[in-house]
C-alpha cells in the first residue's frame, strides 16, 4: 500500500486523463469496419478485423491494468467503489435487455408468427394464398423447409448436464467469495479454480453439442426460424460464458498475486455478478429453448 491519503472520503476523486479510450475507438473501428468489409468480400476486411481485435485486447489490458494498479495502490475511495458497482449493475441490465431481444424473437415466432402462417388467428388468407398446406408446429424451419429436415437436441441429455454444471459453478463461486471474506486464501483459490473448470467444462460440452447438431442432426444456423433462434440464443450465451470464464481466470490470477482483501474486492464481486447473470440466462434458455 502506498499513499493512502489519496483515498480521502471527503475529497472527490477524479482520475487523470488516459489514452485508452481513443485506442479502444480505433480498435472498434478496425474490428467492425473490417468485419463489414469482410462481409462485403473485400480482401482487406479480415486482416483489418484481426488488427482491430488485437487493438481492443491491447486496450483492455492497458485500461484494466491502469485501474488495477490504481486500486491496489489505494487511490480509490468509497465513492469511486460505489460508482464502479453501479456501472457494473447497469451494464448487466443492458446485457439482460440484449438477450430480451432474442427471447422476444423466439416467443413471437413460436406464439404468433408460426401459427399465423399456418392459418391460425387472422392468418387464414395468408395461409391459403401464400403457404397453402403448411401446418404450424414447433420446432419448424418454415413452409419452405429452409435448411432441410433436422432433429433437435433433447433437453434431458447434455443440456441438463450443462444446467447442473452452471448451477454448481454458482455454488463454487459463492463458496470462494465467503472464503475471501473469511480470509481463507487456499479455499478461495481452490473454489475459484473449480469455478473456472466448471465454466470450461460447460463450454466443452456446448461445443460438442454444436458439432453434434451440425454433423448428425442437420440442425444449423440456417435451419429456418428454429435454427436461427436456437443458435443465436445459445451462441450469444456461450460467448458470454467464454467472456465470463476469461474474467474468472483473470481474478484467479489476481488472487494468486495476493490482490483483494476481505473488505475491498469489487473486481471479484463484479465477475461473480456477471457469472450469476450468465447462469440465470442459461436457466431461461434451458426452459424455453430446450425443455418447452
Amino acid at each position: 500500500m502506498s499513499d493512502t491519503t489519496h483515498a480521502n472520503p471527503d475529497v472527490y476523486y477524479v482520475p487523470h486523463g488516459t489514452k485508452w479510450p481513443i485506442v479502444g475507438s480505433f480498435g472498434l473501428l478496425f474490428t467492425l469496419g473490417g468485419a463489414a468489409l469482410w462481409l462485403n468480400e473485400h480482401a482487406i476486411g479480415k486482416p483489418a478485423m484481426l488488427l482491430g481485435v488485437a487493438i481492443i485486447l491491447f486496450m483492455v489490458f492497458g485500461w484494466f491494468g491502469t485501474v488495477i494498479r490504481e486500486s491496489v495502490a489505494g487511490t480509490y475511495n468509497k465513492q469511486v467503489d460505489t460508482s464502479f458497482r453501479m456501472g457494473m449493475m447497469w451494464f448487466i441490465f443492458s446485457e439482460v435487455m440484449f438477450f430480451a431481444a432474442f427471447f422476444g424473437a423466439l416467443f413471437y415466432a413460436r406464439a404468433l408468427s408460426v401459427p399465423w402462417i399456418g392459418g391460425e388467428g387472422d392468418g387464414a388468407l395468408t395461409n391459403f394464398f401464400l403457404w397453402k398446406g403448411y401446418a404450424p408446429a414447433w420446432p419448424t424451419n418454415g413452409p419452405a423447409q429452409i435448411g432441410g429436415a433436422f432433429e433437435t437436441i433433447p433437453a434431458w441429455g447434455v443440456p441438463l448436464l450443462n444446467t447442473l454444471i452452471l448451477l454448481s459453478s454458482g455454488v463454487t463461486i459463492t463458496i470462494a467469495h465467503h472464503a475471501l471474506r473469511a480470509g481463507k486464501r487456499t479455499q478461495l483459490m481452490i473454489f475459484l479454480g473449480l469455478t473456472v473448470l466448471l465454466g470450461a467444462t460447460f463450454l466443452w460440452y456446448q461445443a460438442h453439442e454444436y458439432l453434434e447438431a451440425y454433423e448428425h442432426l442437420n440442425l444449423t444456423l440456417g435451419s429456418g426460424v428454429y435454427g436461427s433462434t436456437f443458435f443465436m440464443l445459445t451462441g450469444f450465451h456461450g460467448l458470454h460464458v467464454t467472456l465470463g470464464t476469461i474474467m474468472l481466470i483473470v481474478i484467479w490470477l489476481r488472487c494468486a498475486r495476493g490482490h483483494f482483501d476481505r473488505d475491498h474486492h469489487f473486481g471479484f464481486e463484479a465477475v461473480a455478478w456477471y457469472w450469476h447473470f450468465v447462469d440465470v440466462v442459461w436457466l431461461g434458455l434451458f426452459l424455453f429453448v430446450y425443455v418447452l
Binding site: 479510450p21 481513443i22 467492425l32 447497469w90 443492458s94 430480451a100 418454415g142
Partner: protein, 541 residues
Amino acid sequence: MANTAAHADDHAHDDHDHKPEGFLDRWLFTTNHKDIGTLYLIFAFTMACIGAAMSVVIRAELAAPGLQHVQPYFFNQMTTLHALVMIFGAVMPAFVGLANWMIPLQIGAPDMALPRMNNWSFWIMPFAFLMLLGTLFMPGGGPAGGWTMYPPLALQGGASVAFMVFAVHMMGISSIMGAINIIATILNLRAPGVDLLKMPLFTWTWLITAFLLIAVMPVLAGAVTMLLTDKFFGTSFFNAAGGGDPVMFQHIFWFFGHPEVYIMILPAFGIVSEIIPTFSRKPLFGYQAMVYAVASIAFLSFIVWAHHMFTVGMPLGGELFFMYSTMLIAIPTGVKVFNWVSTMWKGSMTFETPMLWAIGFVILFTIGGFSGLMLAIVPADFQYHDTYFVVAHFHYVLVTGAIFSIIAAIYYWWPKWTGRMVNETWGKFHFWWTMVFVNLTFFPQHFLGLAGMPRRIPDYNVAFADWNLVSSIGAFGMFLTPFMMIAIFAMSKKSGAIAPQRPWEGAHGLEWEVPSPAPHHTFTTPPVIKPGMLAHGDVSH
C-alpha cells in the same frame, strides 16, 4: 490565519484553473466533464449541419413535381441518412453534451462518476459516423431503406448494410456507456443535501432518460444483429418462408423506437422546466407532479410501440390495446404542459432569448402532441399512415420540440460556460426567423399528408405542388439558422458582455452558485448546501 486562507485560495486556484497543457491531453485523453460536454455539443452541431444539408437536398427535389435534381435512389439515401444523422448524431449527442456540462454542476459533483468511460462514450461517436457516412462513397451508396431499416427492403442495399449495422452497434455502445455514467453520477455523486426530490428537473429527466437508454439500446443492437445474420449468415428471423416474420422486426425495432422517441424529448422537458421558472420568477408549478409525469411517460413508452405499425395487419385486440395505451400518454404530457403554463401564470415574466425558445417549445411541441393523438386513433391512422402528416407530426416534436429546447439550453447556459452574454437582439432575431421558417416548412406538410401525399417519395402528383413549394421555401430559410448560430455565438465569445455569476435574475440552483465561466474543475469537495441555494425544496437543518 489569513496566511492559511491565502494559501488555501492559491491551492484552490491551482486546482480549479489547471487545464491540461497539450491539445491531445486536453481533448483526446480528457476526463473532464466540461470538455467532454463541449466535444459532444460541437459534434452534435456538426452532424446537425450535415443532416440539414441532406434535408436541403430533399426539399430542393420536392420543391416542384417531377424529378429535377437527384435520382430517386439517391433521394432515398438522403431521407434515410438525414434521419439517422439527426437522431443519433445531432439530437442525442446534444442532450448528452448538455447532461455532461450541467448535471455535475446541478448536483454539486466534481465530474461524472466514471470520467474515463465518459471519454470513450464520446470518442466512439465520430468513428461510428465515419462508418455510416462513409457508405455514401461506396459501391451501391448509402443505406436507402429508411432509418427504420425494415426488412426485406433494408437488406437489399449494397455494401452499406453491414456498415450501417455496425455503426448502429457503435452508437449503441456509446449511448449505453453514457447512460450508465449519468445514472451513476446522479445516484452516487449528489452533494449532501441534494435529495432526489430536490434535484433540478433537467437532472431528473436525464436520470429517467438514461434508464430508457440502457433498457432499449441493447434491443436495437439485437434487432440489427438479426438483420445482419439474416443477410449474411442464412438465418430466417424475418423470412416467412423459414417460419420467421418481417413484421417481427418492426415489433422489436419499435420496442426500441418508441422509448427512443422519449429519449429525445424527456431532457427537453427538463430544460424547459428550468427556463420557464427562471424567467417567470416563480418556482416550477407542481414540481413533484412534473417528476411523476416524466416517470409515467417513461413507463408508458414501453407499452405503446405498435402504434407505429397499425397498418401491418395486427389482430384487432392488439390495435385497440396500443391505441388506448398511446392515448394515455396524453395525461402525463398534459400535466406537464399545464404546469408550464401555470408556472408562467401571474409570474413577473420577461422574454429574454432562452425564454422565447422555451415558450416556442411549449406551443409548437403541443401542436406536435395533438397531431400525435390524431395518429394514435387506429381508424384515422389507416388514412394518415406513411403520409406527410406523419412527417409533419414528428418534425413538430423533434425540431420545434427537441431542437428548440437544445437551442434554448445553449442560450440559457452559454453565459455559465463561457462567461459571456449573448447579444439579445440577435438572439431574438434568430428565434423569430426560425419561428417563421420552421412553421412555413412543416405546417403545410399537415395539409399535404391529409390530402394523401405519401412520405419518402422524390416525385408527386401536381395537386400537391403549391404546399410543397411553400415547405421548401421554409426549409431554405431554416438552412440559414446554423450559420446564424455560429455568427451569434462567435460574436459573444469574442466580444460579448461579461456574464455575472447569475446572469438571469430569477435563476436558482447550484449551477448559478459557481462563477461564470465555471472553473475547469468545479467542486473538489462536496459543496455545503445553504438554504435558498437549490431551485426545488430546501435543505433541512
